[in-house]
Subunit: 348 residues, 2 copies
C-alpha cells in the first residue's frame, strides 16, 4: 500500500474556524480528484467538528479527529500563549509531527505564536541559525518563492545564503520540473550596489552557484519581481515584509480605482456585461487566495501558516501547499541543499 | 512688479532632449494659464534650442538660453563626469542658483551625477547630515511625499528625524492647506515592532510632534501607504527604493494582465468601447507621468530630478513641481522645520 501524506490541521485558529478549515480540506480534495493518498489529522473541539464534518462529502475515512479544546487566542503574547497553549489545537497539531508521524502542520492562527511553538517542538535544523518565512508571489511565467517575509528583521550573510538554499528547495518541491533561479533583492543590479551585507552575500552566492541546485541571477530590483526571470527572491525579513505589503496595497488601490471607474456611468456598467468573463479571469488569475500560505523554512518539520482572515477557498490552497511540499520531500531537499554550503566552505 | 519664479532647466539630460524639456515647459504654461510669473533659464546647445523653440507658443519673452554644449553622459561614473562635466548644461543649471539667482533647478539627466554636482555647488544645509531623495506617491485622498527613495542606503536616527521635518516642509509647500502627517514605514504598527533605529526614531518623533508642524501618526505598513491617513512616509533609502519599485512593478503587472484580459476575445473587445472613457479616466488618474519628479531635500537650494525616459507631458509635471516648491518657499520651510529639532534638543 502506498504511504499516505499525513497533514495535521489546527482547526481552531483564524476567523470562521473550524468551518473554513474543514471546507478547505474538502475543497482541496474536490479540486484534486486524483489525490487518494492524503490523510488528515484534525485538531479541534471534537463534538463541534463531528457535527459539522458530515456535510463535506470528500471527508470520509480519510481523517482522524483529536480532541483539543484549548484555542490559542490572537490577543495574547507569544510567551503567555505558550504557557496556556500547551495542549491547544495549535500545539497538538505541531506535536503530531513527533508523536503521530504527521508530515506537515497547517494553522491559520497567530503567526508569532505558531513560529515560537514550532521552534520549541520541532527545533531548528542543524546548520541553520534562523528559520525564515517564505511566501508565494505570482510572476508573468508562473510563481516566485519570496523570503524572508518578516521572521527576521535583521539578517546576516549566512542567513541570506541559507534562505537561498532553503527557498530553492521549496521552489523545487513545488515545481519539480523547473530550475530554481535565485536573486537578491536590491536597489540596483550592478555588483557595487546596496549594503555590505548584500555585496558579501552576492559574492558567496556566485561561488555557490557551481555547487548548488540553483542558478544565481544576481540582484533584482522591486519592479522586476514579477517578470519571471528569477523565481526565488531572497531578502531580509524587514525588506521582504515591506515589499510584500506594498505590493498588496498597490494591487488593492488599483483594483478599487478600476472598480470605481467601471461603475461610474451607464456605459461603463454595460461594458462590465461584455467583459464579464475576461474580468473574472483577470480577478481569478490574481486572486490572493490562490497564493495563501506562508511556509516556515529551517525547522526539522514543515509548518504552513494560512492567512487568518481567508475563507474556505483560500484555506484549500494552503492545504494544497502542504500536500505538495510533503509529496515533494521539502525537508530532504533542504538538507541536501544546505550540504552544498558545507561543501563550498570546505573547499574554499 | 511681482518677482518672477526662475526655473533653471538642464535641456540636455535624459532621452529625447531638448525636445521633451521644451515641450514640457510649454505644456506646463498651457495647463496653468494663470501663471504669469514664471521665467525659464534654459541650459543647452543654443543653436539647436533656438531652432526648436519657435514652435512652442507659450515660450515667448519668458526665457533666456545659456549656451552649454557639454552634455553629462549617462554612462560615465559620477566622478569622471564631474571632471568633464563642469560647464555642462547640468552643472550650469545648478550653478545658476548661485550666479543668476535661479530659484530651483530641474534635470532629467543621471541621478547620481546630479546629486553629486548639486552637493558640490549648493552644499548641504547646516544641521543636515545627508540630503534625501523624496518622491510623490498617490493615495486615496490626494498625494503622499515618500522619502528617502535611494540617496542613503543606511540611515541613522538623526537622518530619519531630518527626513520627517524636510518631508513635511515639502508636503506643506505643495499643499499649503493640508496638515502634514508623518508615518515611519515599518512591518507592524505596535511600538515594539521593527529595528532599534525605528524604535528610537519613533520615540523622538512622538516628542517632536509637539514642537513641529506635523502630526506624528506612528508606524505604517506597506499595505496602508495608499490609504491617505498619513501623507509623509519616512524610511531609509534602501527600503524606500524597494517599496517604490515594487509598487511600480505591481502596477505594471496588474495593468498588463488587465489589458491582456480585455483584448482576448470579441466580447471583451466590445466592452472596451463601452468603458473607453472610464478606462481612460482610470489610466489618467494613475498615470505615473503625473507624479514625475524626485526632489533632493537638504541642500541649500532645491533640485528636481525628472525621470530620464519620460515624455513632454511627464516633464511638464516636473516643471510644475519646481514652480510649486519655489512658490511655496520650500527652503525657508525646511529651515524653519529643522529649527524645531534644535528646540527639542535644547529643551530635553
Amino acid at each position: 500500500m502506498k504511504e499516505s501524506i499525513k497533514i495535521a490541521i489546527d482547526l481552531m485558529g483564524g476567523e470562521k474556524s473550524p468551518d473554513k478549515n474543514l471546507e478547505g480540506a474538502n475543497l482541496f480534495l474536490e479540486r484534486n480528484k486524483k489525490v487518494t493518498d492524503c490523510f488528515f489529522y484534525f485538531f479541534g473541539d471534537e463534538s463541534q467538528v463531528k457535527k459539522k464534518i458530515s456535510k463535506y462529502k470528500h471527508l470520509k475515512n480519510n481523517y482522524k479527529i483529536f480532541d483539543s479544546k484549548i484555542v490559542v487566542s490572537d490577543d495574547l503574547s507569544a510567551l503567555s500563549t505558550i504557557k496556556k497553549g500547551k495542549n491547544s489545537s495549535m500545539w497538538n497539531s505541531i506535536q503530531s509531527q513527533i508523536d503521530l508521524d504527521a508530515d506537515v502542520t497547517l494553522s491559520a492562527g497567530n503567526t508569532g505564536v505558531l513560529l515560537v511553538m514550532s521552534k520549541m517542538i520541532l527545533k531548528t535544523m542543524e546548520d541553520v541559525d534562523k528559520p525564515a518565512l517564505a511566501g508565494l508571489w505570482p510572476n508573468k511565467k508562473n510563481m516566485n518563492v519570496v523570503l524572508d517575509l518578516g521572521a527576521n528583521v535583521e539578517c546576516s550573510e549566512k542567513n541570506l545564503i541559507d534562505f537561498s538554499e532553503m527557498g530553492s528547495a521549496l521552489f523545487k518541491s513545488l515545481f519539480p520540473d523547473e530550475k530554481a533561479k535565485v536573486s537578491l533583492l536590491n536597489i540596483g543590479v550592478e555588483e557595487t550596489k546596496g549594503t555590505e551585507l548584500l555585496r558579501g552575500s552576492y559574492s558567496k552566492l556566485k561561488k555557490l552557484d557551481k555547487f548548488g541546485d540553483f542558478e544565481f541571477k544576481g540582484y533584482i530590483e522591486g519592479n522586476k519581481i514579477t517578470n519571471g526571470d528569477s523565481n526565488v527572491i531572497v531578502t531580509d525579513g524587514f525588506t521582504g515584509n515591506v515589499a510584500l505589503k506594498t505590493a498588496e496595497g498597490t494591487a488593492n488601490f488599483l483594483t478599487n480605482t478600476l472598480k470605481e471607474s467601471l461603475s461610474e456611468n451607464l456605459f461603463s456598467k454595460i461594458s462590465i456585461i461584455f467583459s464579464y468573463f475576461s474580468l473574472k479571469k483577470f480577478k481569478n488569475k490574481l486572486d490572493p487566495r490562490k497564493y495563501n500560505g506562508a511556509i516556515f523554512l529551517g525547522l526539522k518539520g514543515p509548518v504552513v501558516k494560512s492567512h487568518g482572515a481567508t475563507d474556505g477557498l483560500g484555506f484549500s490552497y494552503s492545504v494544497e501547499l502542504c500536500y505538495k511540499i510533503a509529496k515533494g520531500k521539502l525537508i530532504e531537499k533542504i538538507k541536501n541543499n544546505l550540504s552544498h554550503i558545507k561543501n563550498l566552505n570546505e573547499k574554499t
